[in-house]
Symmetry: C2
């Protein structure tokens, strides 16, 4: 046996393929172990369940037929999750965690079989500390439901990713949404996590105070780790008071560059907007076609602004934005005078993704939602170049984004014949972002689909450091193996050329 | 040789003492290596330098005579730091990083000798991206100087720890200061880090966009790691626009509990204050005695509020705070009508620490600044109980704190004869914080002095996970060894009873 490495990183060339045991006899024996822990009713081997837990229509990862777990287990407590992981550790069984299943980059594809741990039964809001402005929840709580609960006390939890997302997965991807410009991402809203590690050890990363510098920031280490370092079984989240006045404004432009220029101006003047969203002309066409809103919109590049604060503060902000929009060539500017008008105006933003989904003509049509972010000064360039590239490719794609953060998505329709072209458009968009000092993903995470881009964005040594971190906490590579970083050399020709 | 561990954590019982080589011959040979890298003028072995780099008057750690490095090296670039670390890795020489030297818990005590890397020559603001609202700096840049530079463009960088602190150390402790209530801590203001790891590998944790979910959050892993995981050689910091209107209010109370109650009310009403600071009656006595401000203050528990926003917003906030202060029993309420009055009122807050330092009568008198944080609802309890305990102990100590975050400091005078009593007061304060679901340190960090408290706050398994992380990036334990977590079993009787 060689001496233990003294290096600070783990290059891919020095990895060895993980040794799992997913033999029939081992899995059957484990099945009995799991039944003893959670009861027969809470283990499923139904084919429909297995398929549902392997991927989704939203995901850009094309699932292979072999990507199935042997069973799904539904624990109800941290202790049960720990007992399950101890079995898997002893038996060398890979494990994929599952909560809302809304992620986009193949995050929960069970590439190496094994089992799926579904947190559906761990769906309780455990404690609300109103005075301390925090709430203790289980991973199976959805953010929409949580906000309904919090609203009773005039509180709210800002991160707003896709509908259906749950706290477990939101921690996993370090998600955000339209409120991130004002409030920040999950990273800013999680105080503490209870995590079951790969060998079944339970750790709690922090206590509840707002500030702490007590040792390594394990909370942040687990946020965005996509289930590869541990399974989150409890989270303490910060909450805040609901803003007392809000408004919405919508303004259209002659070109996507003008709209993006307007965003850059608003951001650099430091106007404390709650949210700034862009929808391009294609996206607005889809909103009209879907008839999901009551009105017909101009089919032009459009900015949606959300304002929050005191009545006079909101009024002041609306006026600044109106002036900046005019300076950058806006054609129309409308702001909501009533709560109903707010809902109506914001309704188009809400309908964006679904309206593109509604454009699918056949079951074999797919939607690919790609996500990059750049420093705000490069936003007009990247949006314009990406739009031109889409047009050239002949594909149908809308652009919609959280542009205040320099973050936008393409929402692309494609069928099987177009898959290759779609991949290439996304590839060029990602490359463009990296060349503009941007990131390959602003909020969706890396999963399977984007992991080979990481080295281009961050450099190979940084990826090697990430790999060292992964193997430190999970030496047998049991937890959501293959996500974020490769832990095994790729087959020849497997990696697309940069 | 035993098989590599498959565990996710590293308990102290399974550690082996690190094997360093600080023999005379090895150090002499390394000296020549360093001279070849940085030049003769940038390596120092002067006794005064070595003493100055081992500890400070501020620190609560009592330095032992053996805690000296063999030399100080002053690199000028990431490449030089990498070359230095490669030498130390090959020669098994321990390394302590040094920038401002203002930390408090023995953070840079060279417990195992070796060398000190001082970042004094890496003190440049490298790039300011005004449109993107970020700035690229070296670790030897002080926050005060940085803010002078940024002010020319109406920008500022919020974290405001002790005077003299520099970016390298501020990243190291994950510091904050009076602005944290409104703006958050270092964790929220660092976009990206360039880090030299223990074996000399250089990594860059992120690119510059505001949002990214590209892999593990290594940026946050290094923030607060106290120089134990790598040496920061470059940082990209977010900056923001200076608020256009500010004001200051000062209000006094009959008891420290009333003052703390007022804070809890202001926080739970969600009033967007910029800062809320408490100074107790003892602290106000010191401010008066020091004559550092022009006026004589009531010697009572006092709250200092900072407001920022639009003129009408600030006015609104002042009125809400005035009402809440009255409700909780305030005796006086004064707010600044001019910029000069703001400076005058805030002056007392600024003078707090120095005014206690000024109370020292002899060279052998020391100041011990302890720091804990609790969930805001427990703040009145912990401040009151701590104050009673100080009174009982017969020691002289003021209380001053960033109370909006549930975070406060005791600033205690003691001489050698009182050292034991002072230790015990701090010990009880820390224990009290943990029992109230608080943290042993809100912003100072763990260093040497607080590391044995971590297990009580977080549980031993969490500390074991931190130890695994440390050894993953630094298998030879070269970087600021012994800080944050022990990597070697303590001698009998070394750990104080909880």
């Amino acid at each position: 046996m060689p001496a233990p490495s003294t290096a600070s990183t783990l290059p891919l060339s020095q990895t060895k393929p993980p040794k799992h045991d997913i033999s029939g006899s081992n899995m059957e024996a484990a099945w009995a172990d799991f039944v003893a822990i959670v009861g027969q009713d809470n283990v499923s081997t139904l084919e429909a369940d297995l398929e549902h837990h392997a991927g989704s229509d939203y995901s850009s990862h094309t699932l292979s037929q072999t990507e199935r777990t042997f069973l799904i287990v539904y624990p109800v407590s941290t202790e049960e999750v720990s007992a399950i992981m101890k079995i898997c550790h002893k038996r060398r069984i890979p494990v994929t965690g599952y909560s809302g299943g809304t992620s986009l980059e193949g995050h929960f594809a069970p590439t190496r079989g094994g089992i799926c741990v579904d947190f559906a039964r761990m769906n309780k809001v455990l404690e609300l500390h109103k005075e301390d402005m925090d709430v203790v929840v289980q991973p199976g709580v959805g953010w929409e439901l949580l906000n309904e609960e919090l609203a009773k006390d005039n509180l709210f939890f800002p991160p707003d990713p896709g509908p259906g997302a749950m706290i477990g997965g939101m921690v996993g991807t370090g998600c955000s949404g339209t409120n991130a410009y004002r409030y920040g991402t999950m990273r800013e809203w999680v105080l503490s996590l209870t995590v079951v590690l790969a060998d079944g050890t339970v750790i709690k990363t922090r206590q509840r105070p707002r500030k702490s510098s007590a040792g390594y920031d394990l909370t942040k280490t687990f946020i965005g780790s996509e289930g590869t370092l541990g399974l989150v079984t409890e989270a303490v989240l910060k909450v805040t008071t609901k803003p007392n006045t809000t408004s919405v404004a919508v303004t259209t432009f002659g070109s996507v560059r003008q709209a993006a220029d307007c965003v850059a101006k608003v951001v650099s003047e430091g106007v404390p907007i709650a949210a700034i969203e862009i929808l391009d002309d294609v996206q607005m066409k889809c909103v009209n076609a879907s008839k999901m809103t009551d009105r017909v919109w101009p089919e032009a590049s459009t900015l949606f602004f959300k304002f929050a604060g005191t009545p006079s503060g909101v009024k002041e902000q609306v006026n600044i934005v109106r002036r900046l929009a005019k300076d950058t060539g806006s054609k129309t500017f409308e702001f909501a005078k009533t709560a109903q008008e707010q809902t109506e105006l914001w309704g188009a933003r809400k309908a964006a993704l679904w309206s593109v989904m509604a454009m699918r003509e056949k079951d074999t049509d797919h939607v690919w939602t790609g996500d990059v972010a750049v420093p705000i000064s490069r936003l007009p360039d990247i949006i314009e170049e990406t739009k031109e590239d889409i047009t050239k490719s002949g594909l149908f794609a809308a652009i919609v984004g959280h542009v205040g953060d320099g973050n936008f998505h393409t929402v692309m329709l494609y069928n099987e014949a177009q898959r290759r072209d779609a991949e290439e458009v996304i590839h060029r968009m990602v490359k463009r972002a990296v060349e503009m000092e941007g990131t390959v993903t602003g909020e969706h995470g890396v999963g399977l689909v984007k992991r080979d881009y990481l080295g281009h964005e961050l450099g190979e040594t940084t990826v090697d450091a990430m790999r060292k971190l992964k193997l430190a906490f999970d030496p047998l590579c049991l937890l959501n193996c293959d996500k974020i970083v490769r832990i095994q050399k790729p087959k020849p020709g497997e990696i697309t050329e940069w």
